[in-house]
Symmetry: C2
Subunit: 236 residues, 2 copies
Amino acid sequence: MSRNVTVCLTPELIHLEDLSGKLVIVVDIFRATSCMVAGMASGIQSITPVATVEECLTLKSNGYISAGERGGVKIPEFHLGNSPFDYMQPSLKGKKIATTTTNGTLAIKKSAEADEIVIGSFLNFSSVKDHIKSSDKDVIIHCAGWKGSFNLEDTTFAGGLLKELSKELSFQSDASFMACQLWEKSKEGGLYNFLMKSAHANRLAGMGIEKDLAYCCQLDEFNILPKIVGEDIITC
Amino acid sequence: MSRNVTVCLTPELIHLEDLSGKLVIVVDIFRATSCMVAGMASGIQSITPVATVEECLTLKSNGYISAGERGGVKIPEFHLGNSPFDYMQPSLKGKKIATTTTNGTLAIKKSAEADEIVIGSFLNFSSVKDHIKSSDKDVIIHCAGWKGSFNLEDTTFAGGLLKELSKELSFQSDASFMACQLWEKSKEGGLYNFLMKSAHANRLAGMGIEKDLAYCCQLDEFNILPKIVGEDIITC
């Protein structure tokens, strides 16, 4: 029997999936998982996602670098915001980061029962794809969405992965079909232009982070596979 | 300020919406709301959606015609299944029907806090569109989905409505954008051929109900607007 891959459109729907024994790919393109991939590729030792600002501040007081946002805006007491460029500073090499974000952290927490949790983004697209191909597990692509709702960028990423996996894995759900349609559509004018039509890109547009968004749309900047081990994101 | 229309992809996400004061369009193309529209247009007096088979059997013992399905299959003790042709029998004119279905009934029940609940399908597409245009309320298109998950046919219907409403109502969510993409895509090879790619059409394909599915894809068979009043669907 062939392996299956399914797409979960938001953390609000993950309870419909049986996570046991599964490989879960968590994706929050704008910007949490893109930050995590960029940071781990730049030499950060570990990233610890936590649910609340308070937990993040506690870890900060224990020597962690604090990072994250609420509503797309950096939290004033934190060292870093939620830009991939924040995470790529040379001074962070070997450091431990604690982070909390609106959507990505929740998707990670809600994936806890999976056998394996991998951090996905366009920045490490082929690393994720190759890992899925070499695995023997069924796969769930867990889109972080936006405050519980569907979003364009995470589902388009899922569609891209599905297209690359169509020979090795089977998928029949309407969410998978729709994700593939979005990926195909994104090719017409280019991925960046397509994702600039997303509601989240429009929300973030007034915040002067266009270069963040453009960077998050780059494919295969890094050959790296951050994974959740215990409470932390590390690279194996 | 312009009126808003949003798309809720499944009843599992309706708690993210504030229903108070809203006009909700419930849609379950394959086949619950298509049946309701066909039945009400054929002279049925009222349709009472209930959550369980047991409730439906209780109403049956009180003189109602019982109808519905579980997993796409007619319930043996019921008079009718879940085919629009079942609902259009001349002998049902003036009769009261009690019905329970996998997805459509749930979407109706979960819309209860709305100011107004209308039954939508391709069969009464323009009636729904015209009613929305003449209303002064914000609108939520509540897709019944499939066991809590996104489905293709209900969201494509939502996309079609949005396209017709783009001058009068504003919509910015990614779900709306995606729904419009699906509607546009469906025009390439025709609505029926597009929706035959859906997982639910494939699930139902072995059950010999191809003519049901084709009928549910017909636009504007009826000029009728079934609404929920109290516990019942009636036409005003």
